[in-house]
């Protein structure tokens, strides 16, 4: 029987795989040691477990275990990667190139650096959410030290042309950092084939625990260094001090191993469900996919239902279906998603969007229920929408002078 509520917000976080929890449990209880304790078996066990997890994580992204720095999550990875490079390479330059659709952990980090002498170029994206490679190359100058472009977007799932981006970065001797939070574990990511120098990702987006992530830092061709952002015991080769979260790291490692094993099959199955959901919902009039349809994560879709407001739409079923909306009616600013606006979407369409993130545990039954519930709610709210009525009467909404609020 269908169990409610249904979880379709896997871009926000994923449920933990029970196999991950099973791997973690002993490290809370009998193997509780500090991985930095060198003088007794408790420490040795913990260190061994961390080493093993480091291998599992490295393998998933095609890296050497020594290139994996454990962090508390992707936000820390973004901060350490970007600020760490900014400080370490200060003598080479102060210019960073990023894009307007990056996650706030990247954008706010860049804004912080601007306040302390950094110069940042924010590339606009095209209507499909992809950056323009020619524009990227044109933005590089002698002082450019870092390009920071996310692997895949959290709201629309658009996958950037990382290989092409890294080729440009290499050509100009600039480092490439990528926030790959949404991509790792979902699609094949290989730091060597992709030419990435630094990469942040996190366990809880790939069926692992919250509070643990990693920063990949390249050791060869070129050897990359980051300045630590936290001072202390010199853990993680001096780049990230702090006692290691051993159970979390063990879980992260297991989650990576499972993604490696299951990715192909999971992806195939999830994509079929995503495509079904999308095809059925697009049968509604005036429904549009946001972002590139071609260069996209297989488990994500972001759809605008014109003339229906996103939060009002969610209210029709959010007791039973967990989703998120690009509308930000709950925030005082009333500003809709900056990512959708960056695609050139009008505020009205941005306010009308829903983000679907399917996952390993999504079933066809859940998708069928979702299609029905959303279609019914859209139709019901359109009956109630003055904009829909005007649209149906053939009135061009852009010609109306709205009372500004």
């Amino acid at each position: 029987m269908l169990k409610l509520p249904i979880y379709l917000d896997n871009n926000a976080t994923t449920p933990m795989d029970p196999r991950v929890l099973e791997a973690m449990t002993p490290y809370f209880l009998e193997h509780f040691g500090n991985a930095a304790s060198r003088n007794h078996p408790f420490g040795w066990e913990a260190e061994e477990a961390v080493d093993y997890a480091r291998e599992q994580v490295a393998k998933l992204i095609g890296a050497d275990p020594k290139e994996v720095i454990f962090t508390s999550g992707a936000t820390e990875g973004d901060n350490l990667g970007i600020k760490g490079v900014f400080e370490m390479y200060a003598s080479k330059g102060n210019h960073i190139i990023t894009a307007t659709t990056e996650h706030k952990a990247v954008l706010d980090t860049c804004k912080h650096l601007e306040k302390i002498g950094g110069e940042v170029t924010y590339l606009q994206v095209k209507a499909d959410g992809l950056i323009d490679l020619a524009e990227l190359e044109a933005a590089i100058k002698p002082t450019t030290i870092l390009i920071s472009i996310m692997y895949a977007n959290n709201e629309i799932g658009t996958v950037q042309p990382i290989k092409e981006i890294s080729a440009i970065a290499r050509k100009h001797g600039v480092l490439l950092f990528s926030d790959a939070t949404q991509a790792v574990g979902k699609i094949p990511v290989n730091v060597n084939k992709d030419g990435i120098d630094l990469m942040a990702f996190t366990a809880h987006k790939m069926y692992g625990p919250k509070g643990v992530g990693a920063l990949y830092v390249r050791r060869k061709n070129p050897r990359v260094k980051v300045t630590a952002q936290m001072d202390g015991g010199g853990h993680e080769r001096g780049m990230r001090s702090g006692t290691l979260n051993v159970p979390g790291i063990v879980g992260f490692g297991k989650a990576c191993e499972l993604c490696m094993l299951d990715m192909e099959e999971d992806t195939k199955r999830i994509q079929v469900l995503r495509d079904k959901l999308e095809t059925e919902l697009l049968k509604l009039e005036e429904a549009y996919i946001n972002g590139s349809k071609e260069h996209r994560l297989p488990h994500v879709t972001n759809i605008s239902f014109k003339h229906v407001e996103g939060e009002g739409l969610l209210m029709g079923f959010n007791k039973n279906i967990a989703l998120s909306s690009g509308s930000a009616c709950t925030s005082a600013s009333l500003e809709p998603s900056y990512v959708l606006k960056a695609l050139g979407l009008g505020d009205d369409l941005a306010h009308s969007s829903l983000r679907f993130g399917l996952g390993r545990f999504t079933t066809e039954e859940q998708i069928d229920y979702t299609i029905k519930a959303i279609s019914e709610t859209v139709l019901k709210l359109r009956e109630m929408s003055p904009l829909w009525e005007m649209y149906k009467e053939g009135i061009d909404l852009s010609t109306i002078e709205w009372a500004a609020h």
């Binding site: 003339h307 407001e309 209210m315 009616c329 005082a332 505020d347 929408s385 829909w388 709205w402 609020h405």
Partner: protein
Amino acid sequence: MAYSEKVIDHYQNPKNVGTLDKSKTNVGTGLVGAPECGDVMRLQIEVDDATGMITDAKFKTFGCGSAIASSSLATEWLKGKSIDEALTVDNMDFVEELSLPPVKIHCSVLAEDAIKAAINDYRVKNGKEAIKFEESVVH
């Protein structure tokens, strides 16, 4: 954010959704908000010219649950009221009745504005001057 039960009830069973014939001289229409802001309310009243009483009220709203609930509640309140009584409806009445949180106060302001706009539309149609209202504080 959890909605109050009254908001949920209005959202699930909205009262007086629909359209009145705006070509009639005794129908006043107020259209407020903007699609860019995520809220558009259209409130209509039908007035008995002889008595000045509001005999019918309808709404259509594009917006969140609180905006839909506020406009639904507005139509309930307006029916059977005189124009003068309708003018005394204040946005805080919506906030109290629907237990709207601070981030949703703009929905109540919009509902109050919609009432005033509908009344003014009715007045202008009938050769009266539009009433000038002071700008609402919360926008």
